[in-house]
Symmetry: C2
Subunit: 246 residues, 2 copies
DNA sequence: GTAATAGTGTCTATGAGACAATATCGT
DNA sequence: ACGATATTGTCTCATAGACACTATTAC
């Protein structure tokens, strides 16, 4: 920030054109053993760009209602997905002259992980059409509105990178879960199997989880249920889960 | 982005108040074996917030001159530090009602690493007062304008985290450097000594650097000079440099 | 020779990866 | 007992960390 930039040196220093400011959210959940993203359909109303195309849930910052960018993101999350996400992190921002036909715009993008249990009645509060898409559905053909394809890819990349050395997949599960279920979340996100024994040692010795006095019953040996020891702070491991063979 | 938010449902859908949009840059360099940050002094002119306080270099996005956020950041970098940074990454964005007395504002923050050789004639192009500060100078007492203290801390945290598993410190050096010099950069950023032998193995086996047919001469045994094998892409290691003892 | 820094080697500890063995449930 | 999944154990390998040793320059 600092001093006024180059804009017209009028008497009123704030009297120069301002970019549009928005917030978008990339919401991930795992359903049917697949990583999925929530998208909403662009309205057909006149003046609306990219009518009928799928887009990330989001919208303009409302200077009267939104205290901050993150508060705005949480509002979008509530409105579009009807959830309080257990994990929300800022992904980055995208801005420029050409990304929105309505003019110079900048969007602040957040990415959220939610347990599929929290998944919504499929319609956002404002009745906008919303749907979950697996990542495979974007191989080339389908287009998204604005630069949302690029943003979504960035979000997936970030998630896939972080999975290698953090506990993020835990936020895709309900409060209580077994180690096998946690392992499955890792495998879905990484799209490759991981070794059971090593995984258990890694998780248990990290202090990531603590056992609850309950078992998951089934048609086989019951499994110990765990919950996050510190649900607020993800764990960062000092090694990636598998030596990369770049 | 997507549909217009809650703002006044006028005929013209874009006719609602827009936040101020800016870009700030946290510029790091190592000088005198210390990690330092470039700051500029806020002007004393009437209407300018935080007059006389130190702030991150930055300013409003100029919708006529700036193609994109990153282009805007590079412009600030040129104007305030007079450099093309060999490393520039987006740090995040900060936005809300209260961070700037002039109204709802959002800043897009980048962080840059530059070799101290590139360091400037001390005055920005626009004659604004600029100076380098060591991080120690911010222990409590000194205040920065806006939320720039918080932003700077976030930048330092990001850098310190990434040093553990990336080659970022290489961008604090000139094109050609010795392994000892590289190690010194790591040590300055991490604020702890690291082991020579392990460091050399790590660096050499990673393909991070390649030798040039030159040596650094001195009052002792000459050292092999290296340069980055791929100056564009930082290397990501699969292990942190030292097991954290949290 | 000495001082100073560059560069190598050796040994240990940690934790990942592969794979096998054992445990405990419902039926 | 059988099927299925949970849980543990054993062995190997890669690499970080500690520390010592050797190498090459200027003086």
């Amino acid at each position: 920030m600092a001093k006024t930039g180059k804009p017209p040196a009028t008497q009123d220093k704030l009297d120069f054109p301002r970019p549009l400011t928005m917030v978008d959210v990339v919401i991930f959940a795992v359903m049917e053993s697949r990583l999925q993203v929530l998208l909403v359909k662009r309205p057909d109303a006149p003046g609306e760009p990219y009518p009928g195309l799928w887009a990330l849930p989001g919208g303009f910052v409302d200077v009267d209602r939104d205290e901050s960018l993150e508060a705005c993101a949480r509002r979008k999350l509530r409105e579009k997905a009807g959830v309080e996400a257990p994990y929300l992190e800022q992904l980055g921002s995208w801005g420029g002259v050409s990304r929105d036909p309505r003019g110079w715009s900048a969007t602040h993008v957040y990415f959220a992980l939610i347990p599929s249990e929290h998944v919504m009645p499929q319609k956002g509060a404002n009745a906008a059409e919303a749907a979950w898409f697996t990542l495979q559905e974007f191989d080339g053909r389908s287009r998204l509105a604005f630069d949302h394809m690029e943003i979504m890819q960035a979000a997936v990349t970030r998630l896939r990178n972080k999975v290698e050395y953090t506990s993020l997949p835990a936020y895709l599960l309900p409060e209580e879960f077994t180690l096998s279920e946690l392992q499955r979340m890792y495998e879905v996100v990484m799209e490759r199997p991981i070794e059971k024994s090593a995984f258990r040692t890694r998780v248990l010795s990290s202090g990531l989880v603590e056992p609850v006095r309950k078992m998951r019953e089934g048609p086989n040996r019951p499994a110990q249920l765990y919950r996050l020891a510190d649900p607020v702070h993800p764990v960062v491991f000092t090694r990636t889960i598998k030596t990369r063979t770049d």
